[in-house]
């Protein structure tokens, strides 16, 4: 075990980033022209980084596996993006955003990183508005805000339920501008299958052209992985079907440390699973908890229709357990509370694995307000419902529509059924303050790194982090690293390291193609997902995790004996793409279990059944586990743990209480 | 964005559409005028003959009208050539047709058949101009001396005679159907192509366009039928 150097600058917290920016090295414009940078992934982090670096003069090559950079799954983020603008005058500040994020993350993130994130949050909003992102506005023409889970101020900027889409299209437009300027060469339908290390530095990648199946070598002076999270290890998640861990996992196999892999976020408000054929889960924005009330019947196995259950026979369990935050407790808390009720037999719907998210009282409340505004003195119940429905539709219309499309139910009339689902992964490749992994020249941005959210991410913070990393952090810190490379010149793709990496990729593809077994890739992915969800999901135990590890090992063996990938490797072959990704998930899943097993405490999204208080709240252990668990890839299922101690100099870790 | 672009308006897809709209809407004006003139045919024969022929003389000799008529010829030709070229381009844009396409699900019949309707109208215009315009200008239309207007070419008799043939009437009636459908979509579409749209006025304009299409085509169609029926007596 070694000590990891996080390279956090000295000085007072609030000055660290400023001082660091002033002291790091720069690359002059003429030299930037002779430096290549590879950016893998074109979501918020990747597109913003590629665009910003290209604007500065670097020659950028950007890669995405989708048919266009605009498809990256950042696009699906609904609710909003946080920024400490304090436009509401409600007491928000950079410090408060910093504090909320540290606390929300259950004291498992780096103070310096989180503070920097809060600082640059304000620049992000400015940047996006200048790009033409149409955020919601008030009648006066100024930006509107709403509140989100885990905080008591309104600091979330939004564009209806499509904030991620608008921000991504903003970054995509900046990227497109650089493509047309010739500063970025865009490679779409390309999947990175390995990182190439030349003399100890990340100097390129091997990518597969998904249309032709050809393997390509691309060299650069630095490689940025902006490839998102690994939630699809659970098969069912709110991630896109193509979201995968392959890029970061290949880097991990080349020596990059994987930090806190067990920190996964289970989002409380998703549409429940309806059958075996289910391919993905759909999130209902957390913003719905602003106005919706969550409940289950007080009676177990209550068969009545929800509207027939009288008020006094309902259990608004979040309001009961957490009176201060009520339905707006952080995600991890809300998810566990839903699981607790369902496990105890109070669940609703056919599967009994769902709770109600009810808008009836919000409709009544808004309807009454609206009637008052319109001067209607004695409105009928019908009139109130009509007016209230209009207000709710204007706020959440697209989400309600989506719910109706998927379930066939009308959420204006009957409560929505929701259940937690895998949504985000706080863990990721370990990076230092400069967002560089322990492999020199390999930078990791956005959800792909582990850095800012600790053990639980607050709502509307993922967009903030992705854009902060890409627009405002890496453009500075990358220069510091590249300052050594101004004389290096082109990196040749004929270097033996490229031969070796390409050979290994070729070999893996051949191996998978030649198994010609009898089971589909999805069979293995689903089996892995079930193991992960049951044993490394919302609640984990030592016994379950140990079982999971041996089950995953057996599944992996079966995969390499039984998987069937039709077609050939020299053409567009979606089954092959999936197989390569699932092969990596089968290794990652095991590491997640090791990590969860190692962390003998409950914190944030990581809940170990052995470590809970009497009333079922998470029991954190700051004495023994206030560290980042960074795992080095170990041959033969023996990952090696490295620790980075977390020092809290500005906030004192306390038990999170939302009561 | 840097560097200027200097493509001519007409080379662009939008430019071509703008000219379609301009010429089309101008031809709508022309139709209104033409219709007003033709309605004189509904007058009692004894009045109509002189009045209509005098009107025809005015229309063929007045310099201002002449100018307008050149503009009309140009518009018709341009509208036809441009329209056919656009239709050809549109064909190129989808070389492989769908196995199954439910066109009626999302667009009106008229809007989907503008090129066919337009081609029919072009054929009609050729027939129509041969029968009357050509005869009037270059043919041997008998000349007679009217009391009020002096010497007049007897276009009236030419016209009324022409519509004694049932098949000729039928061609006209069907063609006016094509005019109606063409205008049903074309009127509103022309304004859109010119970039004119407004949340309140556009729906009104579209409604007017549809009314215009019906009124113009029906009134035009009534004339040959009327003349045919009167010829039976």
């Amino acid at each position: 075990m070694s000590v990891l150097n996080s390279k956090i600058p000295a000085g007072p917290l609030a000055d660290k980033w400023k001082n660091h920016k002033n002291s790091i090295r720069l690359v002059n414009p003429a030299n930037k022209r002779s430096i290549d940078v590879i950016v893998v992934g074109t979501g918020l982090a990747g597109a913003s980084a590629a665009a910003s670096l290209a604007e500065m003069g670097y020659k950028v090559k950007a890669f995405c596996f989708q048919d266009s950079p605009r498809r990256a799954h950042s696009i699906a983020a609904q609710g909003g993006i946080n920024a400490a603008k304090n436009y509401r005058n409600d007491g928000d500040s950079v410090h408060r955003l910093f504090y909320d994020t540290i606390k929300g993350g259950d004291y498992r993130s780096r103070e310096a990183n989180v503070h920097r994130l809060a600082e640059v949050s304000v620049n992000i909003i400015d940047q996006c508005v200048a790009q033409g992102v149409p955020f919601a506005r008030e009648y006066g023409g100024l930006l509107d805000n709403r509140s989100f889970g885990g905080v008591q101020v309104s600091r979330t900027f939004y564009a209806k339920g499509q904030t991620g889409q608008q921000l991504l299209l903003g970054a995509y437009s900046a990227l497109s501008r650089q493509v047309s300027a010739g500063q970025v060469k865009m490679y779409h339908r390309h999947e990175m299958l390995d990182v190439v290390m030349v003399d100890g530095k990340a100097r390129g990648i091997i990518a597969r052209n998904l249309v032709t199946g050809e393997l390509e070598r691309h060299s650069a002076h630095a490689v940025l992985l902006c490839t998102g999270g690994y939630g699809n290890v659970f098969f069912l998640s709110t991630n896109a079907m193509g979201s995968n861990v392959t890029a970061t996992w290949k880097a991990h196999r080349k020596g990059a440390y994987f930090a806190n892999p067990c920190f996964t976020q289970i989002h409380p408000t998703c549409i429940p699973v309806s059958g075996d054929y289910q391919s993905k889960l759909t999130l209902m924005s957390e913003s719905l908890r602003n106005d919706g009330r969550i409940w289950v019947p007080q009676k177990q196995n209550d068969q009545r229709r929800p509207v027939d259950i009288p008020e006094e026979e309902r259990d608004y369990y979040l309001e009961r357990r957490y009176p201060a935050f009520g339905n707006l407790v952080p995600r991890d808390v809300a998810s566990r509370a839903a699981k607790e009720r369902c496990d105890a037999g109070y669940g609703v719907g056919q599967s009994k694995m769902a709770v109600y998210l009810d808008y009836a009282s919000a409709i009544q409340r808004y309807g009454t307000l609206e009637a008052n505004k319109m001067g209607e003195s004695q409105p009928s119940v019908q009139r109130i419902t009509e007016l209230g429905t209009q207000v709710v539709a204007s706020k959440y219309g697209n989400l309600f529509e989506m719910y109706a499309k998927i379930t066939g139910d009308n959420p204006y009339e009957t409560p929505m059924r929701i259940y937690p689902a895998v949504h985000y992964t706080m863990g990721g490749l370990w990076v230092d303050y400069n967002l560089m992994s322990n492999l020199p020249g390999l930078f990791v941005l956005g959800e792909a790194n582990f850095s800012d959210h600790g053990a639980n991410r607050l709502g509307a913070s993922a967009l903030m982090q992705g854009l902060a990393d890409g627009y405002f952090v890496v453009p500075y810190t990358l220069g510091d690293y590249l300052a050594d490379d101004i004389q290096t010149g082109n990196i040749s793709t004929q270097h033996p390291a490229f031969d070796e990496a390409e050979g290994a990729v070729q070999e893996q593809i051949s191996r998978i193609m030649n198994i010609k077994g009898s089971k589909s890739v999805d069979f293995f992915h689903k089996a892995l997902g079930k193991i992960m969800w049951d044993k490394c999901g919302m609640a984990r135990s030592e016994e379950g995790l140990k079982q999971a590890i041996s089950e995953i090992q057996a599944l992996r063996t079966e995969f390499y004996a039984q998987v069937r990938v039709p077609g050939s490797a020299s053409e567009m072959n979606p089954e092959l793409e999936k197989a390569i990704r699932v092969a990596d998930f089968l290794e990652l899943g095991e590491l997640m279990c090791y990590d969860a097993l190692n962390r003998n405490e409950s914190c944030g999204g990581h809940f170990r059944e052995e470590y809970q208080t009497e009333d079922g709240e998470a029991l954190r252990d700051d004495t023994d586990f206030a560290y980042v668990a960074a795992w080095e890839y170990g041959q033969g299922n023996s990952p090696i743990l490295h620790k980075e101690d977390l020092n809290f100099e500005n906030v004192k870790p306390s038990t999170r209480s939302y009561k | 964005m840097s560097g200027k672009t200097k493509t001519g308006l007409i080379k662009s897809s939008i430019g071509k559409k703008v000219f379609m709209g301009l010429t089309g809407l101008f031809l709508c004006l022309f139709l209104a005028g033409h219709l007003a003139g033709n309605l004189q045919l509904l007058l009692p024969a004894e009045v109509a003959r002189d009045q209509f022929n005098a009107y025809a003389k005015f229309m063929t000799t007045n310099p201002a009208v002449k100018l307008l008529s050149y503009l009309t010829y140009f518009s018709i030709l341009f509208h036809a050539v441009d329209g056919l070229y656009l239709a050809w381009q549109n064909k190129q844009a989808r070389p492989q047709a769908y196995y199954k396409k439910d066109d009626a699900a999302n667009a009106g019949w008229a809007s989907r058949n503008m090129a066919v309707l337009g081609t029919l109208l072009l054929v009609f215009i050729v027939i129509h101009m041969k029968s009357f315009w050509y005869e009037m200008h270059f043919g041997n239309v008998p000349v007679y001396a009217s009391i009020e207007h002096g010497e007049l070419k007897d276009l009236y008799t030419l016209t009324t005679t022409a519509f004694t043939e049932w098949w000729y009437v039928l061609i006209y009636v069907l063609s006016m159907g094509a005019v109606g459908f063409h205008l049903w979509h074309g009127f509103g579409s022309g304004f859109k192509s010119l970039g004119i749209s407004h949340p309140v006025y556009t729906p009104l304009l579209n409604g007017f366009g549809k009314g215009f299409a019906v009124v113009v085509s029906v009134l035009f169609a009534i004339l040959p039928v009327y003349l045919f029926l009167t010829s039976l007596n």
């Binding site: 033409g132 919601a136 896109a240 | 493509t7 699900a105 999302n106 667009a107």
Partner: protein, 248 residues
């Protein structure tokens, strides 16, 4: 329920394709259309055949990747719905469903139901952006924008770039796609400096890609899964004309 499928199969970009018949016996009405396709592909893999290649990613109606022409309509029979959000409860037992790729010369088929929509990217690269470098933006609230304009810009900006407008248009025209982007940026004060240049460049690129011409049939508006208004096409015409007139 039991379904008969007629699906376009095409091995590669240059290969000849044809419609192939398949039968699925156990389709659950709660499935999404793409989950039904997953079941078909599972069946094909089990039988040793090659699964049907189709584009899809987020499966929640926002990434714009799914792109099937179902029973003669882009994204199938429901309006305001992408293929991934279309559910089998809208079909009946015994139905025959015809599934084809988007058809347009600007969207060449890659394989089976997959098409290449990079023409859209090139149109955006031609000018679908505001030239602002990172770090040079003024405070976000320094420039108030009338809510009405902001809302209209937002409505135009919800385009997911799926290509349904092109696929359904009888002329394979991309005017709704281009109109939406030009509208969004021309409605915002930030978009003004490049307003003319943008309209001209984007239209030029659109024409270069081989999309057809708009004949205002309105089909695009009906089939757009995000309900983007054809009003944006009129605005594009206006912006383009205006640009041609004022451009120096």
């Amino acid at each position: 329920m039991r379904l008969n499928l007629k699906i376009w199969r095409q091995k590669g970009p240059k290969a000849n394709g044809k419609m192939v018949d398949y039968t699925l016996n156990e389709v659950n009405p709660e499935m999404s259309f793409l989950e039904m396709m997953d079941v078909l592909n599972q069946q094909l893999v089990d039988e040793g055949d090659e699964p049907v290649a189709f584009d899809h990613d987020c499966r929640e109606g926002i990434c714009g990747m799914c792109s099937m022409f179902i029973n003669g309509r882009a994204h199938g029979p429901m309006t305001g719905t992408t293929t991934c959000q279309l559910h089998m409860r809208h079909f009946n037992d015994g139905d025959t469903i015809v599934i084809e790729p988007w058809r347009a010369s600007a969207f060449p088929v890659i394989k089976d139901l997959m098409v290449d929509r990079s023409a859209f990217d090139r149109v955006i690269q031609a000018g679908g952006y505001i030239s602002v470098n990172t770090g040079s933006a003024p405070d976000a609230n320094s420039l108030p924008i009338p809510k009405q304009n902001a809302d209209m810009a937002f409505d135009a900006a919800t385009c997911i770039g799926c290509g349904a407008c092109v696929a359904t248009c009888k002329n394979a025209s991309a005017m709704l796609f281009v109109g939406a982007k030009v509208s969004q940026l021309s409605l915002l004060p930030q978009g003004q400096p490049e307003r003319e240049e943008r309209a001209i460049r984007m239209v030029e690129q659109m024409d270069k890609e081989g999309f057809g011409n708009c004949t205002n049939t309105g089909a695009c508006e009906v089939e757009c899964p995000k309900g983007i208004s054809i009003e944006n096409i009129a605005r594009l015409n206006r912006e383009y004309l205006r640009a041609k007139v004022v451009q120096k």
